[in-house]
Amino acid sequence: METKDNELVILEEGRDDTEELYTCCGGSTARQ
């Protein structure tokens, strides 16, 4: 589907909380 001129399409809303930080270690990750 073409994006029409002047069209904005939201494909992914993203995280609710941009304060949510994870820790990454040894291939696994856990929420802080």
Binding site: E2, N6, R15, T18, G26, G27, S28
Partner: protein, 437 residues
């Protein structure tokens, strides 16, 4: 309004003149026509579109405030943390003899004693549960299931104290899964066991060469049988270590699991990673020692390839998310079998990076671990900062012999992030944030 600095812009596939805008901070994704992208840059969007892009954090009101929010995020996370996570190294022994084992230089018949177990229990109950913190323990090794009595001795009283105080407690295992039988899981689950991180290194042939028993016998079939037996009781997180020569065969492992009835709904995350060098010595530029850089061309080819093959088969895998190295978090602690304390399980190969002992407490490690090494212009202005935060300090240590700079992932993300975003679009974003909550 300004475009966020934590933003990547890619051409939309099959749509000339359109663009994908991805916020590494928010994880949001929009598609815009070229005209709208120009308007966003010029600040001439209409009110509705401006509000939408503001909500997605693709537009920001104050770029300096956004940068400051990222710079202070780890500190703010530490100050509001209400949980404690301990990785407890129960032993450095193993019933497998993996040639690439990163603990190879220091493994042996070294086991956590009952007196250290008592110290752990006292510390967790007194210093953590006593302060109202939720507690999670990751039992580690060596092979943690060679120390089941110690798991009981540690988890039992902590679980009881957590219950009395009204805080949460659970534990996981990083295990080779050869001893992860149903009776073992049935015994440990009432004590708080919720998950196990297990490893299968590709096909039976590759795995049995990479992860044999001490006798030389292969371990693949036993591990698959155990996963099948316990995956309805606990969450199985599946990892695997791949090499340049063999990563292309790893999808056959996923086909094998599907054939065995280990379907995506029965296990947690699937994530493969390149083999890293043995801990405890600097490898410098020794290309045969293992991978110390995600920017190596074969890794930037292998990682998205394996992610694609994983998602194609319906398994859940990682998504880029805001994550920082474990050493940055003050409520994360590694307790070695002898009671010495570290900030990352792989750092126990460098005794000089011990940050204290259970008996004597924690010393100031901000200089030895070069905390905040990523707080420099180059990183703070980098679009990848939210999903990198300076990368993996172990890799820097392996390369340089000290944590003296960041493990820059710009090269890796330049080559892979666009592919990852397009995968999520193709497969409906069935990737999830890594790990547990």
């Amino acid at each position: 309004m300004h475009l966020s600095r934590y933003l990547k812009i890619y051409p939309a596939p099959d749509q000339s003149g359109s663009y994908l805008l991805y916020s590494t901070r928010k994880g949001s994704l929009v598609r815009l026509s070229e005209a709208l992208l120009s308007a966003a840059r010029a600040g001439t969007l209409n009110e509705r579109d401006r509000a939408a892009l503001r909500r997605m954090e693709i537009l920001v009101e104050d770029p300096a405030a956004e940068r400051e929010a990222m710079e202070s995020l780890v500190r703010r996370t530490n100050s509001r943390s209400t949980r404690f996570k301990a990785t407890v190294v129960l032993n450095l022994d193993c019933n497998l003899a993996c040639p690439y084992c990163y603990e190879g230089y220091y493994r042996g018949k070294k086991y956590l004693s009952r007196s250290v177990a008592r110290q752990i229990v006292d510390y967790v109950i007194g210093e953590q549960i006593g302060r109202g913190r939720d507690v999670k323990i990751g039992f580690y090794g060596g092979e943690p299931l060679l120390s089941i009595p110690m798991i009981r001795e540690i988890a039992g009283p902590i679980q009881e104290a957590a219950r009395e105080r009204g805080v949460a407690f659970s534990f996981g295992l990083t295990t080779n899964a050869t001893l992860l039988t149903r009776p073992v899981v049935e015994e440990l689950r009432p004590l708080g066991l919720t998950e196990a991180i297990v490893t299968l290194d590709g096909t039976r042939e590759i795995h049995d060469r990479q992860r044999p028993f001490l006798s030389g016998k292969g371990s693949f079939d036993l591990i698959v049988a155990n996963i099948k037996e316990v995956c309805d009781l606990i969450t199985i997180q599946l990892g695997g270590n791949f090499s340049r020569e063999e990563y292309r065969e790893f999808p056959l492992l996923l086909d094998h699991l599907l054939g065995e009835g280990i379907t995506p709904d029965r296990i947690g995350l699937v994530q493969f990673a390149p083999v890293t060098p043995k801990s405890g010595k600097t490898v410098g530029a020794d290309a045969h020692a293992g991978c110390t850089s995600g920017s190596e061309p074969w890794v930037t080819e292998a990682a998205p390839y394996l992610r694609e093959e994983t998602m194609k088969r319906g398994f859940t895998t990682y998504q880029p998310t805001m994550a920082a190295c474990i050493i940055e978090f003050q409520n994360d602690l590694v307790i070695n079998y002898d009671g010495s304390l570290f900030k990352c399980p792989a750092l126990i190969g460098w005794p000089e990076l011990s940050i204290g002992t259970l008996a004597d407490g924690i010393s100031d490690y901000s200089k030895s671990h070069n905390l905040d090494v990523w707080k420099k212009e180059e990183c703070l202005d980098c679009a990848y900062l939210p999903i990198c935060f300076g990368g993996c300090r172990l890799l820097t240590l392996l390369k340089n012999g000290a944590i003296d700079e960041v493990d820059c992932r710009k090269g890796y993300y330049d080559e892979t992030l666009e592919k990852i975003i397009l995968q999520d679009l193709r497969y409906g974003g069935n990737g999830k944030r890594k790990g547990t909550t």
